[in-house]
Amino acid sequence: MNQKCIIIGASHGGVNCAFALRKEGYQGSIDLIDADPNLPYHRPPLSKTFLNEDLPISQYSLWAEESYSSENINLHLGKRVLRILPESKTIVLDTGEILPYDQVVLATGAKAIMPSLPGIEEAKNLYTLRTAADVVAIKERLKSLQNPEIAIIGAGFIGLETAASLRKLGHPVSLYEREERILSRVAAQPTADYFSALHQAHGVQLFPGKTLSSVSETGNRVTMIFTDGSTKVADLAIFGIGVRPAVRLAQEAGLTTDSGILIDDHCQSSIADIYALGDCCSFIHPRYRRLVRIESVQNAVDQAKLIAKNIMGQSLSYEALPWFWSDQYDTKLQMVGINQGYDNLVVRRELDNDRKLSVWYFEGTRLLAVDAINNAKAYVLGTKYMKEDRLLDKELLANPEVPLSK
């Protein structure tokens, strides 16, 4: 009898899982469901070129529309899954449809957080940045103004990329961060210092150590009030303060969750025939032996491909080395590994180009991760060293006179 696979969430993870299933020879039906009405698109450009160039979201599609029908993938857009019922092996959609399944893949991702602070509910002109619709709304607001002044709350990757994209358009941008420095959750001080200097050189007003306490509407503008009593009036405020993994469906279905949906090394959840991947799930990374939840295209795509193979009867364990990139102005940051738990760093500069920097994270002598800025060589070699568990001479590594070598 023909199998039925249902994939919930049609973004980097879900879409790749559907195509990978076909590539692996899955003969059954594939239903790929997403609440977002747009043809599935690349998310990274949302804070980059989609924000500051005038192309429609269809330019950023993961696949052309015909590709789904050619691969016999039933794409359901603009429909939300309300429930997964593991006992009857069915799912319930907001359209009232009930679909039976043999396998379910949860690729529900994460939602941007809007803080619950006084005034937030009432105020207009506050935005998060996670979906194409979010960015379209931001662009419309920008177009309605002569000289829009923008406040960004949160100096993680989304906040920084958004600042860079809006500065490219020439708009004044003020960036507020609760912690004492930018990128505090994800990168060490040298990387943060590099990006602080870069943004300041491009005219971003950076305000670390500022915690938002409330907002209020002032005419058609918004006033932000910080805990130190200072205020900022802006035409719009964009929040980049993190995400919440979309785990409600999973919890209601009785799946074990932690910070995300808990999966084992086969990307299988706590209930048989239900898999999960990408931003919505947590797992113990075998290389690092810690529970992680990874927000990156690489992780969603690699887990998707592995799930497809496991559904087809293989028994593969997920052990991919995580990698990530961020583009800001003309600077490319590439990260590989997981830096949590590092206790010492090597900072490397290059003689040929002062725009290059690499930051090497170690736990004792063990290389955990690398941040490579405008330096793909450090990124690919760092990847190689980690895969080989190479023991590095830190003095040589820090010495710009000694080129990095295979």
Partner: protein, 102 residues
């Protein structure tokens, strides 16, 4: 309008034509196996690795430093390796032949 020929690892041959965009976008639009383009074409993932036919390689604008470094340790790298997202259709000589690396 340029004609571009893709040859996959399974020796499938595709004769495509396009006016703009990158070779990666062209390959994706035609579902050519072995070109994933996971990063969307920003030289970050190396999942769009191709070999340019030796007769055509020199006719293309040179690769950037980042592109060369990204290719350096890829599987199947050759003297005429490129990342398809970094090669523009407009720059392709008529009848360009490329082989998908993976």
């Amino acid at each position: 309008m340029s004609q571009i020929i893709f040859i996959t690892q399974n020796q499938e041959r595709y004769e495509l034509s396009a006016e703009s965009g990158s070779l990666m976008e062209l390959a994706k639009a035609n579902r050519i196996s072995g070109i994933d383009g996971d990063c969307g074409g920003v030289c970050s993932c190396a999942t769009c690795h191709i070999h340019i036919h030796p007769d055509h390689f020199e006719q293309l604008p040179a690769a950037s430093e980042i592109e060369l470094e990204m290719l350096e340790l890829e599987d199947n790298v050759s003297d005429t390796s490129r990342l398809a997202c970094q090669v523009k259709v407009q720059d392709a000589p008529e009848g360009l032949i490329v082989t998908v690396a993976n």
